[in-house]
């Protein structure tokens, strides 16, 4: 795993690059560890509070540890009327966790999201940002089985 210090350092010369750096850290760690926020503050010349303020403003970024597979269910109006609620319940049931939680083995995190721009195929989920369109509650076990 690439070291967060190295990752953040590679954005040092990019004006406003802190958000890009956070994305890059999150791609490796699935979240932004507290030490990485502190490091970014130093590299981009911000106070720790400011760096934390940036990290927590954006819902795509997380400062809490998350699982290897981050499943996000879109609940915006088009997905809502296409049955997002049933799909989320099927995930909660299959994983034994509630929205916002991570399974005990650290494999799955379940989150809600707003529209991910794939509304031609509602309802939509993403797994590690990869969209899956037209998902039904019945497909949930098969989808989870694909995540090794």
């Amino acid at each position: 795993m690439a070291d967060y210090q190295e990752i953040i350092a590679s954005y040092r010369g990019t004006p406003g690059g802190i958000i890009e750096a956070y994305h890059a850290v999150q791609r490796e760690y699935n979240y932004i560890p507290a030490e990485a926020v502190k490091e970014a503050a130093g590299v981009f010349g911000l106070s720790e509070a400011q760096a934390y303020g940036v990290a927590t403003f954006y819902s795509y970024l997380s400062v809490e540890p998350r699982g290897r597979y981050i499943i996000r269910m879109c609940e915006s109006a088009p997905c809502h009327i296409a049955g997002a609620e049933e799909v989320i319940q099927a995930f909660e049931h299959a994983l034994g966790i509630k929205v916002g939680e991570t399974t005990a083995d650290g494999k799955f995190t379940l989150e809600l999201t707003e529209c991910v721009g794939q509304c031609q195929g509602t309802p939509v989920i993403t797994i590690n940002s990869q969209p899956y369109a037209g998902v039904s509650a019945e497909q949930v076990p098969a989808i989870l089985a694909q995540c090794k």
Binding site: L61, A77, E114
Partner: protein, 406 residues
């Protein structure tokens, strides 16, 4: 049978989007060459005369916006690919199918305002689009077609408000994406304080054809006050859930029944919400309205991003509006009070109505609150958030009254 008219999507599914030679063979970058042979003032006047109006929602004349940029050493061209408005997937479609059209459009704008640096702000939910764009930019650079104009892609990170142009600028600068007070407008003091033009993907992608074929050609298409085409994305209870590009004098009814193939499952139409989740709800009686921004405004609705969410007779309007109220409560950035508190209270009251615990007094309150937010919120988020509530109370009041305590 109405037909699509493809300007922005003229190359879609006809060229390999990641082979710039295909784009060049289809006449790509000839418009930029022509533009570069023009005096920037004449170029701006040409775009102004075409009456191309911004496709990101506000509908401002693009050439007029460019004309506000003062002479300066450093200016920026920023493309808004935040596409956070639920139900919208047009900008993704445009970029996935023909990224060079966007790059060429940005380079045309760069010549007009004397810019050497462009940014594309792409929402964090589209990492695959970011990759795709970076490949397309690398190809354009290798071919040398962009000249001394360079383009960088920056990622958003899941904040709807960052689609607002000054919040977007804050975000590129690496800050929390909170909107700025205007004036100054970005055209005068934008990214890092420099004059900056922010336009939507679709706005830029229209430019190559406008430059090649001329302002008069474009101004003659569709509705005169909002000419050209609009890319629409159909969702919900419509047979064809697709992206289409149609002249702006196409009616809502044509969109739903001719292009959309009508309502799924042979059911009846109930409502359509156009422009994204902040758009107004439209009843059957207004379906013969053309989709151009001014006609839509005249019926209390919006064209917005061109998202078209169709709802059939079985849909619970109050439940849908409650879900929408939750969206705004979540996405309000919290900077201004009318929006922070207003979206919270709207959601609270909508939940109460939806759960069957409200009285007529709650409806009066939410109407009053909606009016205050429309007038007092700092940015378009808080101003537009009550739109779905107000338009459904206007057209579907019975749906609310059925849920009230008697």
């Amino acid at each position: 049978m109405a037909e699509e008219l493809r300007i922005v999507l003229r190359n879609a599914d006809r060229i390999d989007p990641l082979n710039i030679d295909d784009y060049l063979a289809a006449g790509g970058y000839r418009a930029l060459e022509k533009a570069r042979g023009m005096n920037p003032k004449d170029l701006i006047n040409e775009v102004k005369a075409s009456n191309l109006r911004g496709r990101g929602g506000a509908g401002f004349n693009a050439g007029l916006k460019w004309s506000f940029v003062p002479p300066a050493d450093v200016t920026y061209v920023v493309c808004n690919l935040d596409e956070g408005e639920p139900g919208t997937y047009k900008d993704r479609t445009i970029v996935e199918k023909d990224p060079q059209s966007l790059l060429e459009g940005m380079a045309i704008c760069a010549h007009a305002i004397g810019s050497r640096q462009g940014f594309i702000y792409c929402r964090g939910e589209y990492p695959y689009v970011v990759e795709h764009l970076r490949k397309a930019i690398a190809q354009a650079r290798d071919k040398g077609v962009l000249g001394d104009f360079d383009i960088q892609v920056r990622m958003g990170a899941g904040a709807y408000v960052c689609g607002e142009e000054t919040a977007l600028i804050e975000s590129i600068e690496g800050h929390r994406g909170e909107p700025r007070f205007k004036p100054p407008f970005p055209g005068v003091a934008g990214l890092w304080g420099k004059p900056t033009v922010v336009n939507n993907v679709e706005t830029f992608a229209n430019l190559p054809e406008i430059v090649l074929k001329g302002a008069a050609w474009f101004a003659g298409i569709g509705t005169p006050s909002y000419p050209g085409t609009k890319v629409l994305t159909l969702t919900g209870d419509v047979v064809n859930r697709v992206a289409i590009e149609v002249p702006t004098d196409t009616t809502i009814r044509q969109v739903i029944y001719e292009f959309g193939g009508g309502i799924r499952g042979g059911r009846k139409f109930k409502a359509v919400q156009i422009g994204g989740t902040s758009g107004g709800f439209i009843p059957e009686s207004l379906l013969d309205t053309p989709i151009d921004a001014d006609s839509m405004r005249s019926i209390g609705a919006t064209l917005g991003t061109g998202a078209v969410l169709v709802m059939d007779e079985t849909r619970d309007i109050v439940d849908i509006v409650t879900r929408i109220a939750k969206f705004f409560e979540h996405e309000s950035c919290g900077k201004c009070n009318p929006c922070r508190e207003g979206t919270f209270r709207c959601y609270e009251i909508m939940k109460k109505i939806n759960a069957g615990r409200a009285t007529a007094a709650d409806i009066d309150n939410i109407m009053l609150l909606s009016k205050v937010m429309t007038r007092a919120a700092l940015c378009g988020l808080g101003q537009a958030a009550p739109g779905p509530i107000m338009t459904t109370l206007q057209h579907f009041r019975g749906d609310y009254e059925r849920k009230l305590l008697s």
